[in-house]
């Protein structure tokens, strides 16, 4: 295994010194590359794509196709978790159909990497990513942060605790969406960071003051209507609501260094020894694609040198917890706990 990685490293290094775009990596600054610096993509590539932000990921794929007419990109779409299970089932059956898996959820990536399906990525590729988002076997593409959207007509920012655990002791009315996948990943993060007992106690205490909604957009809209003081939700719903309705009664608060400000990520895994697949990943990490997803989908760019979505402070001013995001695949104990406590 080590030898294989070493050989791959040598091959990658030879390729790097031979190509002009590679020289950009050799500087100390690991800034996002421009698409102009990348090689053309040629040949066949099969991508399994977990459902993401409506048609915006499709526009990225179309743009890559338009730019690379010699690339035959085949896409299979589906729910992220279902595609991850399909990849594992295909591997067990001795079949490999996909070269790449682009998942909206790092938990699904955890399932694929835990089953030994992911190929190591060249270090000069992963080092383009921000600190804390560099993984040897997958590349986070964009991030989303857990936030506390609140209604400034009902509460002041100073009334909001900066600890997610302390929220259970506040007198605030809260909206949450326990059936929503991002919420369950957040509870998984809390389990991993704070332990089973504290998480179960927190869920029980929160249950008494929380109203459940089907999805996190519902949470954000309930906060905006003033049904609840504050909600638990990913950042982008609030930003999008503000974009469509600038006078919306909603602001964002963040906790500090706990699961309440977890930055989760969509990401991509290379499943075959195929240089085109690796180079395809480089396209997703370019200045252009990262900037497009930040401005159009309000996702957090995870490479250096790309602006955050409008309305969100810089990642450096946030303090997300240190956590291997692939550990979020450990969902079963979370669901069991949520059922035991009666929030699911």
């Amino acid at each position: 295994m080590h030898r294989r990685s070493f050989i791959q490293g040598i091959a990658a290094a030879s390729f790097l010194t031979a190509t002009p775009w590679a020289r950009a990596f050799q500087s100390d600054q690991r800034m996002a590359l421009s698409v102009e610096q990348l090689p053309s993509l040629t040949g066949e590539l099969t991508l399994y794509l977990g459902r993401g932000e409506g048609g915006l990921y499709e526009k990225v794929l179309d743009a890559i196709r338009d730019r690379n007419p010699d690339l035959d990109l085949r896409v299979r779409r589906g729910a992220t978790a279902a595609l991850a299970n399909t990849l594992v089932a295909e591997a067990r059956a001795g079949v490999r159909r996909a070269d790449l898996f682009w998942a909206v959820d790092s938990g699904a990536i955890g399932l694929v990497t835990a089953n030994g399906l992911a190929k190591s990525l060249p270090p000069e590729l992963t080092s383009q990513l921000k600190a804390g988002f560099q993984y040897p076997q997958w590349a986070p593409v964009t991030g989303r942060i857990r936030t506390l959207p609140y209604n400034p007509q009902r509460i002041a920012a100073s009334a909001i605790p900066d600890s997610i655990m302390a929220l259970a002791d506040s007198q605030l009315s809260i909206g949450w969406a326990p059936a929503y996948a991002s919420f369950q990943s957040f509870v998984t993060a809390m389990r991993l960071l704070n332990g089973e007992q504290q998480t179960a106690d927190w869920l029980s205490a929160m249950k008494a003051r929380s109203t459940s909604y089907a999805g996190e957009l519902g949470v954000v809209m309930a906060v905006e209507r003033g049904e609840v003081d504050l909600g638990l939700a990913n950042h982008y719903y609030s930003l999008r609501l503000k974009a469509g309705k600038p006078q919306a009664n909603i602001e964002l608060a963040f906790t500090k260094n706990d699961a309440g400000c977890l930055v989760n990520a969509s990401g991509i895994v290379c499943l075959s020894e195929n240089s085109t697949a690796v180079n395809f990943i480089r396209y997703l990490l370019t200045q252009e694609v990262q900037s497009y997803l930040a401005s159009e989908a309000y996702e957090i760019p995870l490479v250096n040198g790309v602006s955050m979505p409008a309305g969100l402070p810089g990642l450096s001013s946030m303090s997300p917890p240190k956590l291997d995001l692939t550990q979020l695949a450990d969902l079963r104990p979370t669901l069991d706990m949520m059922r035991d406590v009666g929030v699911l």
């Binding site: 459902r51 993401g52 743009a63 729910a79 089907a214 999805g215 999008r240």
Partner: protein, 269 residues
């Protein structure tokens, strides 16, 4: 005239969607059978089945007219319908008419079980027969499309990519909700509503909220409250259909907004 045109347009679009999702979807009555992949060569068989069903239902009603409800096992009506291949052919080709068949069949069954006047039973019978003929027409149309290669192969499912395709798929699944409600399978119908919301609509909400927050709010309520509650309470099928039609109108409005927004999105490169 305009209304007829729109209805047939909707049927054509619905048929084009139908077989694409057929074999991987959950069906109430077991495997759908290979015959749906060769509709054209089975049309004579389906026609015979339609004639046979009409005859069987008529015989049950004749017995009811003669002996009253004690003389009739009304459950056989469901058995007759579930036994024919035509059942899967229309279920996979055009769900809205499939729902009408169930509605008509249960109309006859309920009227018999409640001992209603023969005239009222016959009225339900006419609705059932009309929907069967309409269904046969839809299957013939689907067969033509299949011959011309205009239908996706059953079992070759790929999830929708663009927002517009996603809304088309949502509308199709809502038609299935009506069908399951008409089959008197409320839990299956509710499961389809929930999975459609979580797996399809939820992915569009972000883009849509920028365009029209109140439209999203209305659809959120429809998906999570209005429709599931009506299904759980087993509301009359006409009410379920009305809710779904209103949702589809809103979704079509959403489709227009998203298409417009997509055109104004900047280029990636």
């Amino acid at each position: 005239m305009q209304r007829i045109y729109k209805t047939s347009q909707r049927m054509v679009a619905g048929i084009a969607m139908g077989l694409a999702v057929a074999s991987t979807s959950v069906y109430a009555n077991g495997p759908i059978g290979e015959h749906v992949h060769q509709l054209q060569q089975h049309i004579p068989h389906y026609s015979e089945e339609v004639d046979m069903l009409i005859r069987q239902v008529d015989e049950v009603i004749a017995t009811y007219a003669d002996k009253g409800k004690q003389g009739v096992q009304s459950d056989v009506l469901i058995d007759y319908w579930e036994a024919v291949d035509f059942h899967a052919a229309i279920e996979t080709s055009y769900v809205p008419v499939y729902a009408l068949i169930w509605q008509g069949l249960f109309g006859v069954k309920d009227a018999i079980e409640k001992g209603k006047a023969l005239q009222q039973v016959r009225q339900q019978q006419r609705l059932f027969e009309t929907s069967l003929w309409q269904a046969l027409g839809a299957v013939k149309l689907a067969a033509q499309y299949q011959q011309q290669g205009k239908l996706a192969q059953a079992g070759k499912e790929n999830s929708p990519g663009t927002a517009s395709q996603t809304i088309t798929e949502i509308n199709h699944r809502l038609d299935r909700v009506v069908a399951k409600a008409a089959e008197k399978l409320p839990q299956q119908a509710i499961d389809i509503v929930h999975s459609t919301y979580l797996n399809l609509f939820e992915g569009l909400e972000g883009q849509l909220i920028e365009q029209d927050a109140s439209l999203v709010e209305g659809l959120e309520k429809d998906f999570n409250v209005t429709l599931p509650v009506a299904l759980k309470e087993q509301a009359d099928i006409t009410i379920i259909r009305q809710i779904v039609t209103q949702m589809q109108t809103k979704l079509n409005q959403a489709q227009g907004l998203l298409n417009k927004a997509e055109k104004s999105t900047r280029d990636v490169f």
